[in-house]
């Protein structure tokens, strides 16, 4: 085979001693760099592990439920700790690449400097093998740096990520890790394994996100065993359900056109005979009505946006989910978030999600096989009503939005960092707010703004739940501009009816989807601070 004609013939044969010296010097430089890195990192790892374990113990002491899970958590930390070789240096500023070290190594050239995302202190940083759609969903909420197969270890070393994720959707055709999981592509599997090793060397947990069909991940069993957490997303089996969520804001495509036909994601899996039957029958039923799908030649985000914005409703992706697999695929959720109805086969997860909000149920038209398909397609042409749209968005925000899902993931991994505050709300309350009602809100505020300082007990309760309290003078509270400048969140809500558990969420949904303001008893309002 011809891996290059390069050999030592290219080196001048008349000066072997000089060459030898040059080579040894080169090797020595690299060895010194590695040693220096390892020393610094070891020191870092000690502190990091102590912190994590200590944090676990403190949390366990507070909560009997956490006490029960403590041994498992400690075991996980020990496992991570055992494999640690190094951790990155601490930094008070934004996290990013470590040029001071990497400049000593030529492979630094592999790392795309511009794509190393910096995370603000305390907010979540993620790197790994990520699919395009997962990147899109997470980017607004976390510092996400996607690694190509050849740059995985170098990027993990350069980025001080909280979590390293291997998303099997990144292995689908056209994605950066295409062929991962194909037994004929051993190099991809090794690259993923190197990513895991690099993460463990930094003391970082690795999550395997199985978001593709079991066929696609069947050869990743050994890799899964090396990961710290394996979760199953849409399309995979329901062993350990969790999915990356979607960014609902990315799917707001304006007015839904009337009678413009359906969106069909042609890139969906081939599926089982039943899936194919339903899809074929649906397409036959659509007949001459326009069917749109992403133009593969274009950038995927743009292609998806173009295609979806020109349609009235969509066919679910996939059209049928067996009882053993997870449903609620991102494309399906995205279509719903953009105000389009969905015609789909059996999908228990989607059904369960929409069932949480009564009005949302009719947004997805479920069919049993091919029966009732024609009627469903006919109904799908009707645009969603405003209440239905509110309900759908409410369900997605609470049950399938990326920030919520990332918070869940951080909880599961016992990571302090949290997703960015893209939709965090500061709530302006009266002098004696009902703390319980605040905590019962389905979309909790990140900050409570009051005129009078709250009691110590109230402050403590809120602090335990991650909610800050900020007393502000009357003149600031009365002035929207000053108030907006005084809070740290991107939204402010006031006069909210806290007896309604969806009080804050509904205002937020109204704002996000540009829906008409509902008449409310209180003069409640929510606005952006920027």
């Amino acid at each position: 085979m011809t891996e290059g004609p390069v050999d030592e013939l290219s080196a001048p044969p008349e000066a072997p001693a000089r060459n030898q010296v040059a080579r040894l010097q080169h090797d020595l430089r690299r060895a010194e760099a590695r040693a220096e890195r390892a020393e610094r990192a070891l020191d870092r790892a000690e502190r990091s592990a102590s912190y994590v374990v200590g944090n676990l113990l403190v949390n366990a002491a507070k909560s009997p439920k956490r006490l029960l899970t403590l041994p498992r958590d400690l075991w996980r930390i020990w496992r991570l700790r055992r494999s640690r070789r190094s951790t990155p240096p601490s930094s008070t500023g934004p996290r990013g690449r470590r040029d001071d070290i990497l400049d000593l190594d030529a492979p630094r050239l592999l790392i795309p400097r511009t794509s190393v995302a910096a995370a603000a202190q305390g907010s979540l940083a993620i790197t790994g093998a990520l699919s395009h759609r997962t990147m899109l969903a997470w980017q607004p909420y976390a510092a996400v740096s996607s690694a190509l197969p050849h740059e995985g270890p170098a990027l993990v070393e350069a980025v001080d990520a909280d979590i390293v994720v291997i998303d099997t959707a990144a292995a689908l055709p056209g994605e950066t890790w295409e062929y991962l999981g194909n037994p004929a592509a051993v190099d991809r599997l090794r690259a993923a394994s190197a990513l895991v090793d690099a993460a463990h060397a930094q003391g970082r947990p690795v999550v395997l996100l199985r978001s593709t069909s079991p066929t696609h991940t069947v050869f990743l069993t050994e890799l899964a065993q090396r990961c710290d957490l394996v979760v199953d997303g849409p399309g995979s089996t329901r062993d350990n359900p969790w999915h990356p969520g979607i960014d609902p804001a990315a799917w707001q495509f304006g007015e839904v056109p009337r009678d413009a036909g359906a969106f069909v994601d042609w890139q969906g899996p081939a599926g089982t005979p039943l899936e194919r039957d339903i899809r074929a029958a649906a397409l036959a039923e659509l007949g001459d009505r326009a069917v749109r799908s992403p133009d593969l030649r274009l950038h995927r985000s743009l292609a998806m946006r173009n295609a979806v914005s020109a349609t009235t409703f969509g066919l679910g992706d996939p059209m049928w989910v067996t009882g053993a697999t997870l449903g609620a695929a991102p494309v399906t959720l995205g279509l719903l978030a953009s105000g389009r109805r969905i015609v789909t086969g059996h999908d228990a997860d989607l059904s369960a999600l929409l069932r949480t909000e009564g009005d949302a149920r009719g947004a997805a038209l479920f069919t049993e096989g091919t029966e009732g398909l024609a009627e469903a397609i006919d109904q799908a042409g009707r645009p969603m009503s405003d209440p239905q749209r509110r309900a759908v968005l409410r369900a997605i925000m609470l049950g399938a939005s990326a920030p919520v899902q990332l918070s869940v993931l951080a909880d599961r991994l016992d990571i302090e960092a949290r997703p960015r505050s893209v939709w965090d709300v500061a709530l302006v309350v009266g002098d004696d707010p009902d703390i319980d009602q605040i905590l019962l809100q389905t979309w909790r505020p990140r900050e409570i703004v009051t005129r009078m300082p709250l009691t110590d007990r109230a402050n403590a309760l809120l602090r335990d739940e991650g909610i800050d309290t900020t007393p502000l003078p009357d003149e600031v509270l009365r002035d929207r501009t000053l108030l907006s400048m005084a809070v740290t969140t991107p939204y402010i809500a006031r006069q909210v009816d806290l007896e309604d558990p969806h009080g804050i969420l509904d205002l937020l949904v109204e704002r996000l989807a540009d829906l008409p303001t509902l008449p409310r008893q209180n003069d409640s309002a929510l606005w952006r601070t920027t």
Partner: protein
Amino acid sequence: MSRALVYGDVNLNILDGSAIWVQSMCEALSRSGVDVRVLLKAPVENDRLVAPLRDMPGVTVVDPFDGSNAGTPLTPARAVEYLESLDAQQSADFVVVRGLRFVTAAAESGILQGRLWTYLTDIAQDPLALDDEQVDRLQTIASASRYMMCQTEELRCLLESTVPAACGRSVLWSPVVPEPAFDLPARSAVSVDGAQVRPLRLVYTGKFAPLWNTLQMTEIPAMLADIGVEVELHMVGDKIHDVPDDPAWSGRMRAALEDSPGVIWHGGMPRQQAMELTARADLGMSWRDPRMDASLELSTKVLEFGALGVPALVNRTPMHVELIGEDYRFYVASAEDIVAACRGVIADPSALAMARTDLESAVAPYTMAASVDRMRNLIDRALPVAPPALAGRTTLKVGVVSHDLKFFTRIQEHLEALPELDVRLDHWDALASHDEARSREMVEWADVIICEWAGPNLVWYSRHKREGQRLIVRLHRFELDAGWLADVRIDAVDQVVCVSPFYAQLTAERTGWPSERIVVIPNWVDVEQFHRPKIGDVQFTLGMIGISPHRKRPDLGLEILSRLRRRDRRYRLAVKSKLPWDYWWIWRKQEERAAAEQLFQRLHADPTIRGSVSFDGFGGDVPAWLRRVGWVLSTSDDESFHLAPAEGMASGAVPALLPWPGSDTIYDTRWIHADPVTAAQAIHETVASGQWASTAAQARRQVEASFPLPAVCDEWARILVEDLSPDTAHGTLAR
């Protein structure tokens, strides 16, 4: 007639997959005209398998127990001793072996080394599960083997990517489908105009075990009856597994076989009878628990269904997709899927015929006839016949002198395999460093000396060779710039072999050597090694093999990619190469560092290409890697031959070259483009017009005709005794 020894390290009293393998291997060898001695591992207790072996023409069963049915099965060490003594009695051309424990022992045998044809399935099938010790063991085995016989392409890829010694000697040896000893029955239509006219017949044969989903299968007739579809499920077999974790399972299974509506349990049955019953069914059941999906082996049951014209309901496993294709209709994951599939068959019986055709064509390569063809091909390669020029000569002693044989390995193997030749090696430690005593011994011993590379080795041999001793040198490229060529005594050199007409002419011009001695034998391309199925839609994937030093011009590769991605975002570039800093003698050069900096800067900064280039490492597993590549680029400033496009062509990719000097003397000008812009334009036009597959097929035919390994090897055998025509140094190699 060639002679083979066969040992499967398997007890032939027990009918299982490995025993069937021994049988089919012996049959394939026998039908290929090989004289076979098959060594038994255990005393014969029944002759169900041994008797058919004895009946095969040219097959001798060697019973170390002398017909006694008592005795202890052979240990690996004893089996190796037996094989060595059999070889001593009558030398075997090759030794076919199976079973990791035994093969490990056989690989240590100095007598058997180099003649082993090794077949392994009992190795970890996940590369991450292979530890260093296992890899070392496989490396030893592969080094001792002429062939590593792999059951599937995936196993071959695993082996090549993990065990460097397996590269170039791993070949496919697929399962062999049994041939039915009866005519396949005609089946009547199961429905007319959507109305069922007879029961749909499903069949399952084999063991009853939880992972085989046999208990769930028994519920399917009732599920179908509920929706008005009448089904008979014929189940054949009498082995009901005991499940330690669920002791009641076997009872439930038996009860289900006996009592389930629509289930007809036939119990155990001789194989041919079971095949006859299977052949009368409409659909075969091979639906299994997903935990069975990770095997890299092929299910012989599915192959058998295909050979009997019965579409199989199978899991969508990677191996099944590879075998039958993505669009096969009867992939199932659940009982509901099976119900839907059966309902679909009633609604549209043509689905059965289509699936039958799909499966039949998928299993065609696994028939005994196809296996015999494969075997003959393997034998021809391993035991080549000398060209007429060497016929009838006494043994010719050939000395090969080089410090680097990476471009000569296959030729050396070929020469070593010719009985008319005795080949020895004078391996130089470095370009100009050697053991002079050994070289002098070589001068004394050899009839012909081949200097691979025109380095100081040529200078030395041209000054020390014996009178009348034939001296041949192969000059590649870099030597032309070296000063030592002036020291070569060209009168002592009989033939100067260049790999391309351009370099032959350049050599004549630069050195002033007599042009009648300068000839061309192209580089070899092991076309068969590269001929493998592509994975996925590769027409958008460009490939570059080797991007260092910078004269390989990876920057032009990026430019082509950038131009393409402006038209279609699906184009990608895969690079199989070490990186510049992996070569210390490259990385120390300032200009190389600057070029690398610039290259990677563009890679990260240019939005048209960012994230679309992967560096897939370095290694001998190029044929496996090329399965993912649709276009192979050759953008160098200068090459003597550049095998990458030729290897790409052999793999079924399309070459795209920029016009480096001499490229048109090797490759057809249709593949050579003036600059990156026109290269990108040609690539996109080919893809966009749907011509990629046919163009790739043309490229493959061309490389087969231009520089196939057997033809190149024959020329090398001929040049040992005959001068080649200087006309070879003109024109183009492209055919």
